[in-house]
Point group: C2
Chain length 247, copies 2
Amino acid sequence: MSLASDQARPGAAEKPTLYKRIRLDIETRILTGEWPPGHRIPFEHQLMARYRCSRMTVNKALSELARADLIERRRRAGSFVRRPQHLSAVLKISDIRAEITALGRSYGYQLIDCRRRTATAADRARLGMSTAGKVIAIACRHSADNVPFAVEDRLIDLSTVPEAATADFAREPPGSWLLHHVPWTEAEHTISAVVADDRTAKALDIAVGAPCLVIDRYTWRSARTVTAVRLHYPGETHRLVARFKGG
Amino acid sequence: MSLASDQARPGAAEKPTLYKRIRLDIETRILTGEWPPGHRIPFEHQLMARYRCSRMTVNKALSELARADLIERRRRAGSFVRRPQHLSAVLKISDIRAEITALGRSYGYQLIDCRRRTATAADRARLGMSTAGKVIAIACRHSADNVPFAVEDRLIDLSTVPEAATADFAREPPGSWLLHHVPWTEAEHTISAVVADDRTAKALDIAVGAPCLVIDRYTWRSARTVTAVRLHYPGETHRLVARFKGG
DNA sequence: CACGATTATATGTCTAGACATATAAGTCAA
DNA sequence: TTGACTTATATGTCTAGACATATAATCGTG
């Protein structure tokens, strides 16, 4: 949840509602260090008096701050500024097509290979399938302004996503198709670095031995694996950026 | 904000409060796909009737779902399930010492170089300093079970953090010191991949040309840069893992 | 002094109302 | 048909109460 981002336009200067003002006041005091970690925030009834409002209004402001982990609330004891959180960033790993077009570059897509098959032992291991079943294996490439941007190596579990059998992955990238057709409940990313092997180097048009950023993503839908994908990015030109706020 | 994580222990089976039950009910329907993106959620007064409670209770549940971007609320129109978000992960990039000890490995730290100097042009560019000033430049290494884990190359702006002048970075890693002494309000991470140069290879005890994961982190405190740090991890052994839930 | 029982209190949740406000939908005139 | 005006309605915020509950602080006892 991103706090302090309710105001759409800074110039508007419209009066925020009272509970938002209370929340922002407290948030500001915490972020500037005026109220350091451990500091006890005024009790609800004190804030009621200060802002001349009912307890529910104060409570709403404090509840949201607590939900954002900026403060900790303890019955009978009061509300306290939390210690600075573990650095944690909201790393936005968007759909690649969206990412490229958002950069104002032209998106290109080439399907390298797409085959439907009964899951091999390796496929089953990768997808965590307990039983036999069909999968789709896809290799494809994304490019921005006709420059290779990433190569993708994906497996889709058809027993979880039978609709994928009818999708045309020559036209639409599998990531985009899945994003729009399959609700997902959980995912895991693993980011690592490797040097390009022969096949990857050729697909990305870089030298063998050049660094690559690798993202492995597994996506589940209520305990069933939807898809496993590995993306190679040319490491010297691509960057993952995570911007965030913290306490 | 992570939803659906209020229950501490599944075995406890204590009755959740009503608004949490409402929130969970709706969240479940969305995540299972029973209510697909675009679906209109029952109006507040309908939910009032279904759960036999007041509007404020329903409103609290829906407000939290809206704040978590699972639903979108529009006056007069109702509340709607939002399209699956762009994948976005909470990437926890902890303090390295905490990270290593959390893995149950022994943490080691070696200060390679630490010097205080008037900011050079390069320093000023890296920290975004507009005026002259003093900085601390630190090079150090973190290890886990006596195996090199990461090398760190850091710059601290002393005009933003004068207290850092008195810290003993031979004893305490600068990341840990800063985390505990300086409140920060914003940061930016950039993740990329490179191949190890001579100096990095030596420090990490890997081969020149081996892949490295690089994390650049800039930390600000209300528009003033606190510190800029670059971390090199051996790319084939280190992994950044981001696990998350989505809609 | 140590430890258990009691009490006071701040938060957690909830109610049954209220008015404000944005806007979808309907109405009517050009 | 189109545009401007009106209206109905769902959400947004707020109030002044209520009881529940966890727990810090106090008190009493051995």
